[in-house]
Subunit: 402 residues, 2 copies
Amino acid sequence: MSAVAEGALASVVAGDPADPGVRQRAGAWLTRVFEPGDPALARWVAATGQVAAVRSLLAGTAPSRFAAQAAARGEDRSLADLLTAARIGARLVVPGDDEWPGRALHDLVVASDRQGGGVERTAALVPPLGLWVRGRPRLDQLSDRSVAVVGSRASTAYGNHVSAELAADLWSRGWTTVSGAATGIDGAAHRGALAAGGATVAVLACGVDRAYPPRHTTLLERVLEDGLVVSEWPPGSAPLGHRFLVRNRLIAALSRGTVVVEAAARSGSLATANRARELGRPVMGVPGPVTSALSVGVHQLLRGVPPARLVSSAGEVLEEVGSIGADLADVPARPSSPRDELTDVARRVLDACPVRIGVPPERLAAVAGCAELDVLRVLPVLELHELVERVPGGWRVTRDRR
Amino acid sequence: MSAVAEGALASVVAGDPADPGVRQRAGAWLTRVFEPGDPALARWVAATGQVAAVRSLLAGTAPSRFAAQAAARGEDRSLADLLTAARIGARLVVPGDDEWPGRALHDLVVASDRQGGGVERTAALVPPLGLWVRGRPRLDQLSDRSVAVVGSRASTAYGNHVSAELAADLWSRGWTTVSGAATGIDGAAHRGALAAGGATVAVLACGVDRAYPPRHTTLLERVLEDGLVVSEWPPGSAPLGHRFLVRNRLIAALSRGTVVVEAAARSGSLATANRARELGRPVMGVPGPVTSALSVGVHQLLRGVPPARLVSSAGEVLEEVGSIGADLADVPARPSSPRDELTDVARRVLDACPVRIGVPPERLAAVAGCAELDVLRVLPVLELHELVERVPGGWRVTRDRR
């Protein structure tokens, strides 16, 4: 993480808006001052730029509603929040950062543009002002190939089993499971991914320094070993009731699709499914016995208009959220392309390369289903044909091939 | 049942084709001589008329392929078959009879018209030449408001429970369950209907005098107390393997829609669902645990193109197959119709009246959810308004109201 810019906020944000320290201080202040959910604020900040928006708010030149909210939140805690984050191995990711999951959050930006001003509802589809991220992997990379697995807190042994298996199988196919770290289905999904040796992403409704629910303290520590804990609220923030619904839109946005494993009628996990639908992402449901109250909500989803897709395995989930083939679906077929002359291994590695973000050889090997040594052997060939290119973070498909 | 026409077949069918005894002898002979499944034969018999078709076959003036098949089947057993049927309380129902379920079988006639000649496949969508019916109720009436509930022979306790509950709940809403009397789901469905005091229809792949499977001998006896056992093969016919697939189209045709409760991948009950789909009838599936091999086939159905409809209760089944309201959906709304001036009870009784076949007051009471005395009280009012009319069998909506 870049050095935290110290000093009084006003003087810091007077600095170069491109300076990472300056941008971090501005973002940290914004996530502390504003509760997420106001489309008008999100639009104004995005249009103004975060550093300029903070300057404007401090100088009293911002729209009065926003300025009043900022003034009401009291003294600046941005430096303290950033230092707390650094102390626990967390970082703040803001728009413009390499790690900012811009592709995943783009649908929230679009949805927010369609909405009026003010906080219209707790679950407004508004992009976050910043994301506090704890853990080693890059959030943008994990969320690029991820599926949300959510469900009831009061799950059954069947639901726990299915969500754990699903998360494990998704990981074995190179896909990350995103969930909300709640008891029941969420926890089982995280545990399933972990048991398969996989990374998983827990999106919290409180600060990333807090373990909520408390019984998941150990689980969240294990998530942090290879995965990520994410929140749009700064360190120390409490898991206030309304934040769970707000958080649900992020679970939906940070994944390619949402699977509901068990849900009673009117379960909160159905709200996450609705957010996913509103974002145009696939909504899926795992059926269960019609005699189980914990499957009633899922069956309602599967009978909805439009109906959610019934899935019973990781393979069926990936049919919906797009496989490697679908990632490359935009590549038009050409007669006698260099691709035709590739070996089977080279073609599989090429298919494993993402179109946007570079990934390291070990990830390519996992996705392509071959040895890392094979990947290292064929990458130069693929580069020679200008099929892949090296970027920070690893390899990706070259721009003109997409 | 009308008197059986005795005497040599050739002289009998030389009689009046409108005479019930003559028609029965002709129909009995046809069901003995031809295995069902030949669209060209079905079309020829329908176009010629059954009595005339038999005459033509006996006189050697029929198309040679049909004549050859008839000749190969040896001596006439039509009188013996009809006498056997009479002895066990069964009857033969042929096209043109009041009891012939013409509406239900109409889709088979249409489908058969779309197909070429010859036996193209064992499951060809061909109407039966006749139906051997054992039991008291009228087949046309029971099949008019019926749902097929089918599934695997190797069912689980869950599947048995669900199909029994479904059949019982359907009966309590005035709907009959049709199934194939097999072990597993079929048997559970029949038992559920019986436990609710309901009539149920078992469509067999052998003669109605035979109990197949043998372990369902008692079950079939109980079905006969209030319901029907039906077959297109004459008494004594054996449950030959290929006949089950042929029979499945009749289960689909004699019901408004088909529900598959449990089915492994490639289960025979999926064939019944496919026949229902081909006939344009709703196909429904009851989901189960994704961990159960006995639900894999159902889940495939629910993920099919087009997907079957997920149902978890009798109410959801009736949403698909059409409720009383849907029966009357063709009645255009008119400003200030006589209907508007009816009492609530009268309107419910009117809604309970079928459009085609007359039903007795006790049935109207059950469907309308009121006392039989109320029905008898409001029927004259409805007749006065020319909203209902009396026909053999009971009351129905008047023709010009449909």
